[in-house]
C-alpha cells in the first residue's frame, strides 16, 4: 500500500513540483524527501586536461536504472537502497529497466535516454565530438535517507569512483531521476 501511495505522489509531484512545499507543510509526504540534502563540505575539482574528442565518457545516474537481469532496488525500505549497479556500456536499450517509486519514470521507460543518454553519447562519439564511451555506466537510486546516506557515501560512491578511474574514464556525466 505504501508503495502505491509513493508512486501516486511521485506522479503528482513530477507534474506539479510546487506542491512539494505545500505537501511538506501538511506533513503528507514524509516518505518523499525532495529538497532534503546532506551537508557536504567543499567542492571537488579535477581540471580538464584533454580535448573532448579524445575523452572517454561515462554516465552515472541516480534515476534507479538497472539491467533487467540485475536485482531491482529495494523499494520496501523507507530509507531507500544505498547499493549501485554497474551496467555495460553496450547494453541493448531493451535490457534496461527502472526501479524507483519516488519519481514518475513513465517517460524514461519509453526512452531510457531521458535519464541515461546512452544513445546520444554514442552518436557524439560517432560524430567525433567525443573520443569514446566508457565500458561501464553506473546507477544508484536517488531516494536515500537515514543511515543509508552514510553507506552510500562510504561504500557505493567511492567504489563507483574507483571503478571509473580503473576503467580509464576522463569525463563523467551525472543525471538525476
Amino acid at each position: 500500500m505504501s508503495r502505491i501511495k509513493n508512486k501516486l505522489l511521485a506522479r503528482i509531484i513530477t507534474r506539479f513540483p510546487g506542491l512539494v512545499d505545500v505537501e511538506k507543510m501538511a506533513g503528507r509526504i514524509e516518505p518523499i524527501t525532495v529538497g532534503e540534502s546532506v551537508g557536504v563540505e567543499g567542492v571537488p575539482w579535477t581540471p580538464v586536461t584533454k580535448p573532448l574528442s579524445e575523452s572517454k565518457v561515462a554516465l552515472v545516474t541516480t534515476s534507479g536504472v538497472h539491467l533487467k537481469s540485475q536485482k531491482p532496488y529495494d523499494m520496501v525500505d523507507p530509507d531507500g537502497d544505498p547499493t549501485y549497479r554497474a551496467m555495460p556500456g553496450d547494453t541493448t536499450l531493451d535490457d534496461y529497466m527502472i526501479t524507483h517509486d519516488y519519481y514518475d519514470h513513465t517517460d524514461a521507460e519509453r526512452d531510457i535516454n531521458v535519464v541515461l543518454p546512452v544513445t546520444r553519447l554514442a552518436e557524439l562519439v560517432e560524430e567525433g565530438v567525443l573520443g569514446s564511451v566508457a565500458p561501464v555506466n553506473y546507477s544508484c537510486m536517488g531516494h536515500i535517507t537515514g543511515e543509508h546516506v552514510e553507506t552510500l557515501m562510504r561504500d557505493a560512491a567511492p567504489e563507483i569512483a574507483r571503478s571509473l578511474v580503473a576503467e580509464g574514464v576522463d569525463v563523467v556525466i551525472l543525471t538525476p531521476g
Binding site: 506539479f16 529538497g35 540534502s37 567542492v43 517517460d107 531521458v114 556525466i173
Partner: protein, 72 residues
C-alpha cells in the same frame, strides 16, 4: 529543486527548470536531448570556478507550462 543541485556540491552543473524525471528532456526528442548533452559538455570545458551551476534557458513546453512556481 535547484537548491538540491546547489547542496550536492558537484564541480560543474547545468540546471533545467523541467519536471522531475526528465533531465535530458522528452522521450524520443533526439534534438532536445543532444542539445542538453552538448550544453553539459560545454559547461565541463568552460566552467572555471568549482561549484558553478549554469541555468540553461530551455523552457518546458510539452504539457502545462511549469515555469511558474517551479522554483522550490
Amino acid at each position: 529543486m535547484r537548491k538540491v543541485t546547489e547542496d550536492v556540491g558537484a564541480p560543474r552543473s547545468v540546471f533545467l527548470h523541467w519536471p522531475l524525471g526528465h533531465p535530458m528532456g522528452e522521450p524520443g526528442n533526439i534534438e532536445q536531448q543532444t542539445t542538453v548533452l552538448l550544453s553539459a559538455l560545454r559547461a565541463l570545458v568552460e566552467i572555471t570556478v568549482p561549484g558553478t551551476i549554469v541555468d540553461l534557458p530551455f523552457r518546458w513546453r510539452r504539457y502545462e507550462d511549469l515555469s511558474n512556481g517551479f522554483d522550490i
